[in-house]
Amino acid sequence: MRLRRKRAKIRAFRKHFSLRPVSDRTGQIRPGQVLLFSTLRDEYVRLPYFLKYYRDLGIAHFLIVDNDSSDGGTEYLARQPDVSLWTTKASYKRSRFGVDWLNWLQARYGHGHWTLVVDPDEFLVYPFCDTRPIRALTDWLDSSAVKSFGAMLLDMYPKGRIDAVPYRAGQDPIEIAAWFDSGNYMVEKNRLYGNLWIQGGPRARVFFADRPKKAPALNKTPLVRWDRRYAYDSSTHMLLPRGLNLTYDEWGGEKASGILLHAKFLDTFATKAEEELSRGQHYAGSVEYKAYAAHVRDNPELWCKWSEKYINWRQLEILGLMSKGNWA
C-alpha cells in the first residue's frame, strides 16, 4: 500500500509538468481556509452556478485544472478573483482522469487545509448545510479528530426526457434535475482499501440492470484534511493511506456523512456522452458512456413513479442516504 501511495505521488509529480498556470492567485490562501480542487473540460455553462454554490458554502479559494476547454470557460475562470487556474492539453485518461494533476496541486497548496475535490456537476450537501458554512463542519471534524468526510454521489435526473428542459448558465441545475432514487443502493466493503463500494441508483437501474458489476461506483470521500503525503488512488473513491477511507461505522452506529448531488443528467448530457465516447478518455474504456449513448438515443427517461423529489438535506437524512452522526 505504501508503494501504491508512492507510485501515486510519483505519477502526480510526473504529470504536473503538463500543467501550465493561467492565473495563479494561490498567494491569497490563508491558513484554515477550505479549498476546492476541480478538473474540467468544456463546462462553461455550469461554471457560474458552480462557483456561486460553493462560494455560498464558504469555499475560500478554487484551484482548477482546465483540460483544454474550447468553450470560453478558461477565460471566464481566469477572470474570477478567487480562482487559480491551470490548463493542460495532456490526456485526461493518462493522468488517471485528472487525479494525478489534482494530487499534485493538493500536495502543493492543500497541505494542512481541508480540501474539497468535486466535479463541476457535483454539489456537496452536508448536515445543516442550509444554516452552517462548511467551516463549521470542518471545525467540528477537527475537534472530533476526523480527517476525512464521505459523501455519496446521488444521481439527479429530470422528470421526462433528459433533454426536455434546456439548462441556462447560472441556473440551479437541481431545479431541472430534481429527482433521485431513494432506496436502491448496494453497499459492499472493499477489503483491500477498506472503503465501501456503493453502486445503484438510476444508472444501475436503467443502464446496467443486466450487468450490475459494471455499474459506476457512487462512494466518494471528497472532503479531506489534506496532508502532502496523502493521495487519491482512483478518482475520489479511494484514498491512501487507507485509514482515510474509514468514513463509516462498523459497530452499528452512524458517522456523519454528506451527499454529492450529481447533476449530470441535463440536456447537455447526450451531446457530452457522444463526445466523450469519441474521445475515449473515460474510465474502463468509457463503458459507462457506451451504455449511456446507446440508451440515451432511444429512451432518455430515468424518472419512475417511485422517484423522490429533492427538498433538502433533512429529507436525505430521513431517507437514510446521509447521516448527521453525532453532530447536532
Binding site: 444554516t131 448496494m186 468514513t247 452512524e254 452522526g325 453525532n326 453532530w327
Partner: protein, 578 residues
C-alpha cells in the same frame, strides 16, 4: 450599560469570573467585556501554548478594563493536571485581588452568557451559601471515556491520552497486570462532574488553603482528567450546601468532547433558560449578536431547564453510537453481528402457501391490508406486488441487480416501505441460497412454512413424469437444506413449520395464529378464507413418485387412495369458520 437594574448592586462585585482561554481571542474578549460591563471582576488564564504574539495582543486589547487580572500561565492539555493548576492559580488571584467577591464562576473563552448577567448575580445573591458544582461518585455516572471509571482514581496517568496514546494504554495495562492500586489520601471519596462550576468564597478558599493541599495536589496530578474531579471531590469536604449541577449548559458527546452551538441553535438556547452555554462556535455571529448585544432578547426569569437541548444531543449521540437499525448506507455498514437487526421492521415470509392455496396472495392482501409480494427471489425477476417493475425507493425487479447483492435488496425493500408491513413468498424454486441465513437470523422475520407444498404445482402440471421426478428430488433437497437453516440454533426469526399433511388437516388454526401475530386479524375470526387447490389424487401422485424410487417425505403422510383426510363431498369448496 443597563443602569436601570445594575445601579443598586453593580458596584458590589459579588460575582467574579475566572476565565480559561486558549483560542478565539476575539470572542473571548467580547465575552470578557460583557461580564465586565455588569461589574464582574475577571481573572483570565491564557494557555501557555498560545504564541507570545497572540497573547500580547489579547492582553493589550483588554488593558482598558480595570477589574481584570491575568493569571500565571500553565500548559493546559485535555485530561491533564495543567487545567487544574491554572484554575487554582487564577482562583487565588481572584480571591486575593477582589475581596468583595462572594461567588467565583469558572468559565471558558467559548462560554456565552445567555441571560443578563444581572440575573445571574441576583440568582446567586439569593443563594449565598450554595456551591453549584456537579459532583457524583464514579459508580453513579455513565459518562466515562476509554472504559476507565473507578480506575482513573486508582491508577497513575502520567502520559497524555491525546499525544501518547500508546504509552498511556501500555502503562494502564502494566498497572493492571501487576495489580497496582493507588491509595486515595485521607479517605476522601472521589467525585466527578462538569468542569464548569460556581463556588462560594468560603468553599473555594477552604479548598485552596487546606493544609493537606500538597497531598491532594500530588494525588490528583496523576489522576486521569483531574479537572473533572479535583474540585468536585474536594468541594464535598467543605461545602455547606452543594447544588450538584452546573450553571453552565455544556453537553458532551460520547467521546467526551463538548457539543458545539451554532447559529441555528438560537431559539433552542433562548428557551433553555440557562445562564451560560458552552461551547459556542467562534463564527456563530448570530448567537454572539443576540446574546451579547441585544438585551431585548433576554429570557424570562425561570429556573434553568436545559431539557430540550438534552434531548437533541442525546439523540445525536444515540445516532452515532447505535444508528438506525436495518439501514445500510455510506456511513453505517456494521460488521456481522453488530447490525442490531438486519432489517428495520417486521415482515412475513410465506413458503408453500401460494402453492397450496389458489388465491393466497390477493386473499392475504385483502384480509390484512399488507403489501403482499410474490416470490421476491424468483429466478426470472423479483415479483413485486401488483406486478410492478419498480418498487418503493426505485428498487428494480431485475434479477441480475437483485442477485448482485440480495442482502441490500432485502434491507432496502424493508427500509423503503417503513410503516407498511411487507409479505413475500419463498420456496425451494427461488434463488435463496445467499439470503436464507440473513432472513433466518433476522428477528424481524416471521417465517411460515408448509413443507412439501412445492409438490402441488408438480402434481398439477402436465410434464413428463421422469422430469417431474427429478424436479421433485431437487426441490425436496433444497427445501430440506433450507429447513435445517430455519431450525438451526442461530436462527432468530419467528419460524413455524408445518408439513403439508398437518396443514391440510386443519388449515384454519395456523392461518389464524399467523394473522394474530401480524396483528391485523379480525376479532371475530376470519370472514373469508383462501381456496385450497384440488388435491384429489395427490396421494396417488406421491405414491407414484415413491414407486419411481424417489422418497417424498417433507409433505408428511398422505394416503394413496384419497387425497386428503376429508369426506369427498367437501371437495373444491372453500373452508368456512365453524
Amino acid at each position: 450599560m443597563r443602569q436601570g437594574q445594575g445601579a443598586g448592586n453593580g458596584s458590589d462585585m459579588s460575582l467574579g469570573i475566572v476565565m480559561l482561554v486558549h483560542t478565539a481571542f476575539g470572542r473571548a474578549e467580547q465575552v470578557a467585556r460583557h461580564w465586565a460591563a455588569s461589574g464582574c471582576p475577571l481573572v483570565i488564564h491564557v494557555d501557555k501554548s498560545v504564541p507570545r504574539k497572540a497573547h500580547a495582543d489579547f492582553v493589550e486589547a483588554l488593558s482598558d478594563l480595570p477589574d481584570l487580572r491575568f493569571a500565571k500561565r500553565h500548559r493546559c492539555e485535555w485530561g491533564m493536571w495543567g487545567l487544574v493548576a491554572a484554575t487554582q492559580d487564577a482562583s487565588e488571584v481572584m480571591l486575593r485581588a477582589f475581596p468583595d467577591v462572594r461567588h467565583v464562576y469558572l468559565a471558558s473563552g467559548s462560554c456565552l452568557p445567555l441571560r443578563p448577567v444581572q440575573e445571574l448575580i441576583d440568582y446567586l445573591a439569593a443563594r449565598p451559601h450554595a456551591d453549584f458544582i456537579e459532583s457524583a461518585t464514579t459508580a453513579d455516572v455513565p459518562w466515562t471515556i476509554g472504559g476507565l471509571d473507578e480506575e482513573r482514581f486508582t491508577l497513575r496517568f502520567p502520559f497524555s491520552w491525546r499525544k501518547n496514546r500508546y504509552l498511556f494504554d501500555k502503562y494502564v495495562a502494566l498497572q493492571r497486570g501487576v495489580g497496582f492500586r493507588r491509595r486515595i489520601p485521607n479517605g476522601i471519596v472521589p467525585h466527578m462532574g462538569s468542569q464548569w462550576w460556581c463556588l462560594t468564597r468560603q468553599t473555594l478558599s477552604a479548598v485552596l488553603q487546606d493544609p493537606e493541599r500538597p497531598v491532594y495536589d500530588r494525588y490528583f496530578s496523576k489522576v486521569w482528567i483531574p479537572d473533572e474531579s479535583y474540585f468536585q471531590t474536594l468541594a464535598r469536604q467543605y461545602s455547606r450546601q452543594i447544588e450538584s449541577r452546573s450553571l453552565t449548559l455544556s453537553k458532551f458527546d460520547y467521546q467526551g468532547k463538548p457539543h458545539i452551538f451554532y447559529d441555528d441553535h438560537l431559539q433552542l438556547l433562548r428557551r433553555s433558560d440557562c445562564f451560560v452555554a458552552r461551547k459556542i462556535w467562534p463564527y456563530a455571529n448570530r448567537l454572539y449578536e443576540a446574546f451579547l448585544t441585544d438585551q431585548a432578547s433576554a429570557m424570562k426569569r425561570t429556573e434553568p431547564n436545559p431539557g430540550k437541548i438534552d434531548r437533541i444531543f442525546a439523540k445525536a449521540v444515540e445516532r452515532r453510537v447505535r444508528g438506525r437499525p436495518g439501514l445500510l448506507m455510506q456511513s453505517r455498514f456494521p460488521v456481522e453481528g453488530r447490525e442490531n437487526r438486519t432489517t428495520c421492521a417486521p415482515y412475513s415470509v410465506f413458503e408453500g402457501f401460494t402453492e397450496l392455496f389458489e388465491n393466497f396472495e390477493p386473499w392475504l392482501a385483502r384480509v390484512t391490508g399488507m403489501r403482499v409480494h410474490g416470490h421476491l427471489f424468483a429466478p426470472a425477476r423479483a415479483e413485486f406486488a401488483d406486478g410492478q417493475a419498480v418498487m418503493a425507493g426505485a428498487l428494480s425487479d431485475s434479477a441480475a441487480l437483485r442477485d448482485y447483492n440480495k442482502r441490500a435488496f432485502l434491507t432496502s425493500l424493508i427500509w423503503n416501505t417503513r410503516g407498511e408491513r411487507q409479505c413475500f413468498q419463498m420456496g425451494p424454486g427461488d434463488e435463496v441460497e445467499d439470503i436464507e441465513w440473513d432472513i433466518a437470523k433476522d428477528p424481524n422475520a416471521q417465517i411460515s412454512v408448509i413443507s412439501g407444498a412445492w409438490a402441488v404445482p408438480l402434481f398439477q402440471s402436465n410434464a413428463n413424469f421422469a422430469d417431474l421426478r427429478s424436479e421433485a428430488a431437487r426441490l425436496q433437497h433444497v427445501e430440506a437444506e433450507h429447513l435445517k437453516v430455519l431450525r438451526s440454533q442461530w436462527a432468530r426469526a419467528r419460524v413455524r413449520i408445518w408439513t403439508m399433511a398437518e396443514f391440510v388437516e386443519s388449515p384454519m388454526e395456523p392461518l389464524q395464529s399467523i394473522l394474530d401475530e401480524i396483528g391485523h386479524s379480525n376479532p371475530r375470526g376470519l370472514a373469508e378464507v383462501p381456496r385450497m387447490a384440488d388435491l384429489s389424487g395427490f396421494g396417488q401422485f406421491l405414491q407414484n413418485l415413491k414407486n419411481q424410487g424417489m422418497h417424498p417425505y417433507l409433505m408428511g403422510d398422505f394416503r394413496a387412495d384419497t387425497g386428503v383426510h376429508e369426506p369427498p363431498g367437501n371437495r373444491g369448496r372453500p373452508y368456512l369458520v365453524r
